[in-house]
Structures are given as structure tokens and as C-alpha cells.
Amino acid sequence: MRPEPRLIEVRKNVLKQNDVIARALRDRFRAAGVFVVSLVSSPGSGKTAFLEKTLTLLRPRFRVAALVGDLATENDAARLARSRAPVKQITTGTLCHLEAAMVQTALEGWNVSDLDFLFVENVGNLVCPSSYDLGEDLRLVLLSVTEGEDKPLKYPTIFNSADVAVITKMDLAEAVEFDWETAYKNIQSVRPGMKVFKVSAKSGDGLENYFAFLSQRLSELRNAVVT
């Protein structure tokens, strides 16, 4: 006779391994006083251009560095290196997202306490990165004006998991008849209260607002560590 199956309770988080590493990273970043920003978006939304500009303009004022994830090429790291900030490429192979362990490995040999800001650019993908905590303080989701105002409704999970949204390529807004009110409303629908920045990496418009926000968050982090 075939034995009856027995039901046993387990209760284990499937992504526990990632979460444990992410927590260790976050503790390490806090202790070092470095503010970590991760960037997620669809491919082609302008993450690398935005980050290159960010690194270039912040470098005279802060100690900045970046890790950049990509499936196959090292092109993004080469582009970002033009900013003269320390940059390391994480090539994920076939993996569609970054995991905390990859960030940990990429940081080997880096002293994070030498930094004010560390930027981590995820693989261009609006689905998979949402589930993986990388130990970041702030997750930034980018949406370019050329993508359509309903992106947040199509990918609610990643927009909901983010802390801040950045609308990129604002210099093209008029040409593509970008409807700001609708985009803003859709973002607020999937993530009420989310702060939204409008920027153009090309003209530089809107970047100073974003930098002021980052700088304030860095002070808050350091004050919290001290007290």
C-alpha cells in the first residue's frame, strides 16, 4: 500500500539567501556612511546617460562611484568611466537582474567608507529586479518620456517597490507629446506619495533639484548614524 503523504509546515522565504546578503550590505553601507542609490528601468530609458551626468556633476562635490549591471557588454562601464569616477561593470550573463551577492562580489577591494554616494545601475528590465533587495537606501525608477505615460500601470510591481521616480529625456517631451499630468497620476496610483523628478540628462534641466534631494538624504543618513 502506498503511504499517505504527511503535511509539514516549513515557512521559509524563497529569497532568504539574497535578503541575508542585502541586510549585511546595508549594515556595511550604514556603518561606512555611504548613501546607496539603485537605478531600475526598462532598456533604453536613459539610465546610463542619467548616471553619467550625475557622476560627472557630483564628482567635484562628493566622492561618488558606480556599479553597473548588464547582460553581456562592458559598454556602460566605459561610458560611465568618462566621468572619471570609479566604476565597475557587473556582467550578469543570462541573468535578467542583479542580486545582492553580485554587488557584494563587485565591491571586493573597494573601501566603501571612502565614498559619499554609491550608484548601482540594474539590468534594464522592469520585471525581475523588483524582487531583489540590493542593500540600497533608495531605489529609483526611471521612466523616459518616449515610453508612454501608462508604464507605471503596466509594471506596477516595480514602481511600487521604488522610492523615487525620475522622468528622463524631458527635452523630448514636447516632440513626443508627453502628458505629464497623466504620467504623474499613474505613478501616484501605483505608489501614492512617491516623489517624482523631471530631468534631461542632455540639457541638465532638473538635475540640481535631484542633487539637492540626494544631498539632503545623505545628511539625514549621517545624522542618524551619529545619534
Binding site: 524563497v14 520585471v127 524582487s131
Partner: protein, 120 residues
């Protein structure tokens, strides 16, 4: 598409638990939140594929969908969302991003068959 690597993690976790008990896995019960970022259909087909040549081969993955529950400050109560496209209270329309439930990706139970009765 990260469902395959998630399916592999689920199997790894289940195998570990089953091995402790010297048992064979019949089924894995999973709680899947609407905000977990995992597509159920993709996960189910990946699971079958990932089970091949493991001790979980032939086992079933039973997925329990977990809806998003938010806390509504106006109602001072928990509210279940019907859609993840609108984070507002279904009763009073107040927006809320305080998510109390819906991110679960958790193995909650296993159905196992104990191979050898090694318990007294």
C-alpha cells in the same frame, strides 16, 4: 524571466527540508504575493522543468495567491486591494502605500512521504 531561478531555489529549499526527515517530496505549498514580482504560470512550468533529475521530480507546486492588503489611515483599518494598479482604499478612496501583505514568496508547507519509519 527569473522564474526558473526562483523555481530552483524553491526545490533546493524543499529538498533540504525533506532530506532532514529522510522523506520524498510529493508537493510544495507556496504563498505568492501579488507584489512578489513572480508570474505564477511561468513559475509553474519552470518548476516542472527544474524538478527533473532532482529528488523532487514528479512533485507538484501548489500556489496560494496572496492579495495585497494596505492600511487605510482614514478608515483606520486593513483593506484588500482588488488590483495592484491602484493603491487606494476600496471603501473611501484614500491613497495608501502602507503595504501590509502581498510581497510573499514563501514555502509554507511540504507534503512528504517518509521512506523509512525511523521514529520510535
Amino acid at each position: 524571466m527569473h522564474e526558473l531561478s526562483i523555481a530552483m531555489s524553491i526545490i533546493e529549499l524543499a529538498e533540504e527540508e525533506a532530506e532532514k526527515r529522510g522523506a520524498k517530496i510529493e508537493a510544495v505549498h507556496l504563498k505568492l504575493g501579488a507584489l512578489a514580482g513572480v508570474v505564477k504560470e511561468a513559475l509553474l512550468s519552470c518548476y516542472e522543468m527544474a524538478c527533473e533529475n532532482t529528488s523532487a521530480q514528479g512533485s507538484r507546486l501548489i500556489v496560494e495567491d496572496v492579495p495585497v492588503i494596505i492600511f487605510c489611515q482614514t478608515c483606520n483599518a486593513q483593506r484588500t486591494l482588488a488590483t495592484i494598479q491602484q493603491f487606494t482604499c476600496p471603501d473611501c478612496n484614500t491613497p495608501s502605500w502602507q503595504v501590509l501583505q502581498g510581497k510573499e514568496l514563501e514555502v509554507v508547507a511540504l507534503e512528504i512521504i517518509e521512506c523509512a519509519p525511523n521514529h520510535a
